[in-house]
């Protein structure tokens, strides 16, 4: 006959308390017994305690640990404890557990105060900023060397990265900007109709898309798509020691991994923005036709008349700068990955968030400069 659970019977006779265990005293059946022991009240008279393991069928190290820890506690309170068993195996196990146990051990991490946590975060951020500067400096030096000897330029890698991070992004960039063009045109047509200023939708769409919306949205899509990919790829390469392997073989990671990505994105970003310009304007044109009755011919006529070419160039010029920020932040976070899996996730997230943030700041700076220059 086998008892499928662990059981504990507590009996009190005179000044003795008996704890009679039976069944499987193993890890998966222990919790009931533990609570039973925990809430057991001994009467005033009790001086001796007997732990009886005669009826136990199986005992594992966790069960042995629980009983020994209980006995230790009770002896500490001045009770006289005896342990009853006849199984030699149990004796051996109990001996072993006793020899290797550490009482009252706690592995919970020390709590740190709010102030200390704040200080830590600030220092950490400063350190990250410093190491980004160091990375940027190193990258600039590498870029200088790289471009000063044109024969060392790795066209194959650059072409590959152009395809990976720009050509393959054309579809999503075009679609996103087309939809944004539709949304903007739709919202503004309602307002413009009120004043009968239908034709001004061309001015509005032309300037806002060419100058701001297309570059910004392209940068955001690329940051989410390629910036994160750079961080993850290079981060994994760091964990698997591929970067170290490259270094020992004399392949400079900057020449092989960093610069091709940055250059490819800097070259391709204006092209992506150009495509975004086209699809954004097409989206706007479509809605102008449907909502405001502006024919495409009229729309384009007006477009050529009121939207200056400088707006187009302003949008395009921002491209390489955004690309530099996105690619270098992505790669930097890839290189910051430490030797554990979690830091890949953390750094990939950071790369996207920080790249978008940096792009917005850069855009604001451009706005100020261009306004002051009167462009």
């Amino acid at each position: 006959m086998s008892v499928s659970h662990a059981n504990l019977q507590i009996e009190t006779r005179a000044d003795q308390q008996y704890f009679i265990f039976s069944g499987l005293l193993t890890l998966s059946h222990l919790s009931k017994i533990e609570t039973q022991l925990h809430f057991n009240k001994s009467s005033e008279k009790t001086q001796k305690m007997t732990f009886d393991l005669e009826a136990v069928e199986r005992l594992d190290s966790a069960g042995a640990m629980m009983i020994l820890s209980r006995i230790r506690k009770m002896e500490g309170r001045g009770y006289e404890c005896t342990l009853n068993f006849s199984n030699q195996e149990f004796g051996r196990l109990l001996e072993m557990v006793k020899a290797h146990s550490h009482k009252e051990k706690s592995f919970t991490a020390d709590k740190i105060s709010l102030l200390a946590a704040l200080g830590k975060t600030v220092i950490q951020s400063l350190k990250t900023a410093m190491s980004f500067l160091a990375f940027f400096g190193q990258m600039s030096i590498a870029m200088f060397h790289y471009l000063s000897s044109p024969r060392s330029i790795r066209w194959k890698e650059i072409m590959f990265e152009m395809n990976e991070s720009a050509i393959k992004a054309l579809g999503i960039v075009a679609l996103t900007m087309f939809l944004v063009g539709i949304v903007i045109a739709y919202q503004s047509s309602v307002q413009l109709k009120l004043y009968g200023a239908n034709i001004f939708i061309v001015d509005m769409l032309g300037i806002s898309i060419l100058r701001e919306l297309a570059p910004m949205l392209t940068a955001i899509v690329v940051a989410g798509r390629s910036g994160s990919a750079y961080a993850a790829q290079i981060g994994v390469m760091k964990i698997t020691e591929e970067l170290d392997a490259m270094r020992t073989m004399g392949f400079d990671p900057y020449a092989f991994l960093v610069l091709p990505r940055i250059l490819a994105l800097m070259i391709m970003m204006p092209i992506l923005i150009f495509v975004a310009d086209i699809t954004g304007v097409i989206g706007g044109m479509l809605i102008s036709n449907i909502e405001l009755g502006l024919s495409p011919a009229l729309f384009l006529d007006r477009f050529a008349e009121v939207v200056d070419i400088r707006h187009f160039w302003v949008g395009l010029v921002k491209g390489p700068f955004f690309a530099l920020l996105i690619a270098s932040i992505g790669i930097f976070h890839g290189l910051m990955v430490k030797n554990d899996t979690q830091s890949i996730g953390v750094n990939t997230t950071k790369s996207v968030v920080e790249a978008i943030f940096a792009v917005i700041i850069c855009d604001a700076v451009f706005s100020i400069i261009f306004t002051n220059l009167g462009i």
């Binding site: 222990l30 190290s61 966790a62």
Partner: protein, 250 residues
Amino acid sequence: MMIPVIVAENIVTRFGNKVVHNGISLHIKEGEVYGLLGPSGCGKSTLMREMIMLETYSEGSMTVLGKDVSNISPSSAQELRKQCGVLFQSNALFTSLTVAENIAVALQEYTSLSQKLIQEIVAFKIDIVGLNQEDGRLYPSQLSGGMKKKAALARALVMDPQLLFLDEPTSGLDPISAREFDNLICKLKEMLQLTIVMVSHDLNSITTTLDRMAVIDHKKIVAEGTLEEVMAIDSPFIKTFFTTYSKYLR
């Protein structure tokens, strides 16, 4: 008579068109240290992964602790997993948790014991694998290779498993740490009455720790038995593999 813990009958494993095992049969008895040997790529690790239900075989039958692993309900599979501890070749410690948390995670998940008792069990496991109590607070990335192995072993042992699977336990360790690890395995086997299944290439561990072994070559088992029995068998792999060993002895 000893009860077989794992019985495999005519296991055939195919990956697409590639046949990895073609009719493998073996039985592993309770309380022994059993080795799976063979040249690289012969499917030792695959066979072990089939035993712990990480992969499935194409034909044949395999019972682990009396349960047929190819035809098992999710709940009894879960029960079986609790009775098996696995030490992976790359340790597979959870990098976001400290050593103590790595060991405690199964206890937190599967039992409702008090935190105090869980901490005590963790301290005990840390002690029996020969780590210092202070190491419990460290993260895996702060440990040396040998310490990681020990921490992963402590995690494998936390549920007091009956069966312990080791995938190349001494790979990546220096000879001294490797011998220490072999001794540790033998000691733990005695102390906790484990049945151990081990994939190994390390001749030293093979000769010192294994009770019985199976040699897989050309998709079949070419030999099964004790070291003497295996060495008596005429097979090119066994010959080249163990000649190095006999040279070593001289």
